[in-house]
């Protein structure tokens, strides 16, 4: 083994734990918190759009339009670097959570809306004929069926989100990718370090994929 090889292996060994730690303490919490809050936003927006709830409908549409029509990176910059100039200074992690939540909320609302609309019209009609109100119909008849449809795409977006959190490096959050950049700056081994970072993302996402399959199996059972 030549010296270069020995050096690289040493760097990789030394950096593995810091990278993993950054992943577990920043990447994963950022993804989980943003996804959880984003789901609440997504669900609310989807319900507003499906029920065509007049007072909030324009706001919901505007929100989805803005978020889907602009890059996430730019949104993060506006929140973290832009808002302080008008006196709103937020912690980097909080800025990240806000940015990712808004993103999950907008894209997720489209997924949930599509899932709700995929429930056959006959289900609404039968519920109406039985005297159920629209809200009751949503709660007891439509949403449980839409939920099953929405699980696979939502699980996919969570996996995407875990990878997208690497954008948070640009707003000074010391998540996995940011730490990889720092170590690279010191060691000048970008190829190996970024591959190592990629490998850790791969582990996270593979674990999530397995969980996704379990989830789909569990909820795919009853009914059709």
């Amino acid at each position: 083994m030549d010296d270069r090889m020995v050096r690289v292996i040493g760097i990789l060994q030394d950096s593995f734990f810091p990278l993993l730690k950054a992943g577990v303490t920043f990447t994963v919490p950022l993804a989980i918190i943003s996804f959880f809050l984003g789901m609440i936003v997504a669900f609310t927006v989807a319900i507003i759009r499906v029920t065509r709830f007049k007072p909030l409908l324009p706001i919901a549409r505007f929100y989805v339009w803005i978020i889907r029509g602009t890059p996430l990176l730019v949104q993060l910059f506006i929140i973290f670097y832009g808002l302080p100039t008008i006196g709103v200074t937020l912690d980097a992690f909080v800025s990240g959570v806000i940015g990712f939540t808004l993103s999950v909320g907008a894209y997720g609302s489209e997924t949930i809306r599509a899932a709700i609309l995929s429930v056959p019209k006959g289900q609404w009609e039968a519920a109406h004929a039985l005297g159920l109100s629209r809200i009751q119909t949503l709660m007891y008849v439509i949403i449980p069926q839409a939920f099953k449809v929405a699980i696979p795409p939502m699980a996919n977006s969570f996996i995407s989100l875990v990878k997208d959190t690497s954008l948070a490096a640009t707003i000074t959050i010391t998540e996995l990718f940011q730490v990889a950049q720092q170590i690279t700056a010191r060691t000048y081994e970008p190829l190996w370090l970024y591959m190592e970072a990629a490998f850790i993302y791969l582990i996270f996402c593979s674990v999530l994929s397995v969980m996704q399959s379990r989830l789909e199996l569990r909820f795919g059972k009853s009914g059709d």
Partner: protein, 250 residues
Amino acid sequence: MIRIENVYKSFGNLEVLKDISLTVEKGEVVCIIGPSGSGKSTLLRSLNHLERITGGRIYIADELVDERLNDKEVSRISAKKVSEICSELGMVFQRFNLFPHMTVLENVMLSPMKVKGVSKQTAMEKALELLKKVGLIDKKDEYPPKLSGGQQQRVAIARALAMEPKIMLFDEPTSALDPELVYEVLDVMKALAKEGMTMVVVTHEMGFAREVADRVVFMDNGEIIEAGSPDNIFSNPTQTRTREFLSRII
């Protein structure tokens, strides 16, 4: 029980119901027959606001259900009122429309509990009694997609009956069924008619109409062409269109 007065309905420029008037008495079984696209479903669906009429008046049990003129509400009908009306009307669809994520028993229990606020215990007793009546007590814990079409439709009837409706509406309840399953559904409907249930049945089962109906209504192209006793309609129709229709399907 039902009074339909000068009802019109258009979908855009397409006029689907043209000046329909029809009265159904308590305990009466009325069968509506007619070619596809003649407006039978639309008429039935107007009774519980699944469609809104564009003109005319509809009364159920002497209560105004809908009154419209040129597609504008003449009398305001609240959402609560609509729900009340729906509770008095049971509806059975061609495609069953059972809730696939609930067991048979849960399907039957849902609306009494949520709409009428009946206790779980009471709803369950009632549901079991109804499932016994339609011969499906042993399927109570199955999910609907596992059942045959005939079984699903009988569950749908039990589900509608759970609300203790005054009137039952059937929209081609056997049209989606394999021929050998038609009878199990018709038998349940016959039993219901015998008990004195007021029924409006859109059907292509002429044997059923002849045997069970007090009155048969023939619709074509959005109009009631002829109405009368089964004997009159099937043996001595006065209108050529009725005769042509009957000669085509019998």
